[in-house]
Assembly symmetry: C2
Homo-oligomer: 404 residues x 2
């Protein structure tokens, strides 16, 4: 089975390494040998044996009927989207780790794959090496999934873990993560939650079978989380995690990416450092969790190669994936119900009654630094915001949603 690889960066070179390291067991699993025939990259790699496979023109691959599977690890929409369409229309299966591409064009590319009796597979686009896309499609088939909540970004989970364990500030840990190469020079995609947003959009689309547009998902990152927030979290026997979530209640679907306070007894609370985990709730099976390395060269490449194996096994057959192009109307952000942890500057001793006048009964949290801190009852986001607005004489130091 001849494969073309698009992109010879971190993940792409990992794909070559995985196929070379485990060629015997991969051949057994796929039922035939897997061989990389071309590697498309703008660059040459004169000191790497891969150099003899390098091509610079996608048409070499498109026009070679021997290539049945194309694996892409370039990222970004252009030219990946054009490449994906052309490959599928030319009867080649397309395997990708590219979450932007999948989140934006997944439904359409799945449809094109179906029409051409080939496969569009994207296990590596969410959760790195964690098997989650295939289990959602092929294992959790007896259940109606009503919630998926996950730690979907390794960089932010690393930063939050360090802030918690070492009592350091966001900026300080971010800088270290950048120096170590764990975070990008421009860290916005991670720390603003954009990466997690695309991933939860993909999971939500698969869970509910219809297209969840990532641009519709309210998304907050972790840049406002402080050392002090971590101290409060510890006092409440909680941890702060950046969670992507999608939930279905009755026929209403909502989705969100934001930092959340979760109890230390929550299964996601023990997921530290660069590990990711995805909690799936089904109406029959209850809670399931999938845990593993959410990023990194070899874990991500392992998922890409697992998709290559699956594409090889299903040569000539389309694997059913339910994600149609009809768009899910998400519940308006303001109508979603949630409780908040709030820290305010303590202006005077009357602050508690002032807050309870507006918020009704609140759960007071033992405060530090002449602050007042409390947890609201669960209410609609828009009502929370109105109440906070009514308190405008008081300086709000922090507000973080609380997972009930």
């Amino acid at each position: 089975m001849k494969v073309a690889l698009l992109g010879y960066g971190t993940v792409g070179s990992g794909v070559v390494e995985v196929i070379n390291s485990n060629s015997d067991s991969i051949e057994k699993r796929a039922g035939k040998p897997i061989e990389i025939k071309y590697v498309l990259d703008l660059r040459d790699f004169p000191n790497d044996p891969v150099n003899e496979l390098i091509v610079h023109d996608i048409n070499v691959i498109l026009e070679d009927d021997e290539v049945e599977i194309v694996a892409e690890a370039m990222g970004g929409i252009n030219p990946a989207y054009k490449f994906a369409k052309s490959c599928l229309e030319n009867g080649k299966s397309y395997v990708t780790s590219n979450k932007e591409l999948v989140a934006l064009h997944g439904a359409e590319l799945l449809e094109i794959a179906r029409k051409n009796n080939v496969n569009f597979l994207f296990e590596a686009s969410v959760g790195g090496g964690i098997p989650i896309i295939r289990p959602l499609n092929q294992s959790i088939t007896a259940d109606e999934i009503y919630e998926i909540t996950g730690i979907l970004n390794g960089t932010t989970n690393y930063i939050l873990s360090k802030m918690k364990d070492e009592g350091r500030s966001f900026d300080d840990v971010l800088k270290e993560a950048q120096d170590l190469g764990y975070a990008e020079k421009n860290p916005a995609a991670d720390v603003e939650g954009y990466d997690a947003c695309r991933k939860i959009a993909i999971l939500a689309s698969l869970a509910f079978g219809e297209h969840v547009n990532f641009e519709d998902i309210p998304t907050e990152g972790i840049t406002k989380i402080t050392k002090e927030d971590m101290i409060y979290a510890e006092k409440m026997n909680c941890v702060i995690k950046l969670l992507g979530t999608c939930q279905k209640q009755d026929e209403n679907v909502f989705a969100r990416v934001s930092p959340m306070l979760i109890s230390k007894t929550h299964p996601l609370a023990m997921v530290n450092d660069v590990f990711n985990a995805i909690l799936v709730k089904g109406n029959m099976v209850g809670d399931l969790m999938f845990y593993g390395k959410g990023a990194g060269k070899l874990p991500t490449a392992s998922a890409v190669v697992a998709d290559i194996v699956d594409a090889a096994k299903h040569s000539g057959t389309n694997i059913m994936t339910i994600w149609n192009r009809e768009k899910v109307e998400l519940k308006a952000r303001g109508d979603v119900r949630v409780g908040y942890f709030v820290r305010v500057a303590k202006v005077d001793e009357g602050i508690k009654s002032r807050i309870e006048e507006i918020f009704g009964e609140v759960r007071e949290v033992e405060a530090i630094n002449n602050e007042y801190a409390f947890i609201t009852r669960v209410m609609k986001e828009k009502h929370f915001e109105q109440k906070l607005e009514a308190l405008r004489e008081i300086e709000v130091l922090s507000k973080i949603r609380v997972q009930e």
Copy 2:
């Protein structure tokens, strides 16, 4: 797609409930409606609508060509083994939650299924509702798996969790679990580790592709674990879990079921109550963990129905499962290397030097009740036993393996 169900006990009635509750989404996933045509049971159920489907003779099912899938939830080897063979030989796929059957005859039944171009599926036989069999077969295909370690029995995990949290004795918690229906009147299959042994044998066979005989796996249960052991575990920042494990080092495979001391930071340490979790280590992907409800009517039935859906989707095609009949020669029990936590009665102040004389350097653990407690370095089991034998003047109160 017509299905026959064998056994209308807890799991069997769960299968009916899952199919009835989620019929629309199941039809969508399977690509066709799933209908139960017969339920085989010795009993009648006059007040249950299922009664009109009840048959008492397997031949009714075997001779009905309309039945393409048989789902078994009876347990035990007889008559399940005979039924499974007959169904597969008659061109029907066979889906089962029966771990005894799978552990003993899995390789043979897979071969018969292959020859008859049908499927033998057993997702529900390990980990209840947790997707683990299908991910091992179809997702973790780019990796060489070198270890699987899991909490595979919900009853013992519930007992250990209660002993830890409430400081109670094994007998006390077992009795409560029996009164609540969480443990059987004859609890040996759970508390002696026999159930976990069959499950790790199944996982090991799938991980290594050859038959691991459950009778070859050294198996210890939790009956000797005491309240005092739990106190020591807490002092060492560890928990005690009943773990099934199989590991491959070079070409040597070993497997074991036993209580283990694991650090609270270990991913399996947070798995409490009736939850199960399975840690899989691959040479590319690193650590993966699968977590969920390991038992119970609906979670287990959810996995059975997921197999029915998979069998329906693969009507006329055999799904490749690598588990051949060649038997894996397990490493001799005495040659496996492990460290032990040991508690002994403190005869006098010279005990430490006496122990170090025999064991070499040990890690002393702060003791309670006039005891002496220590952790040995890692050594072969047979050497540990020889050393303990040499200490025979000292009363050994407890010995528990330590996960490094």
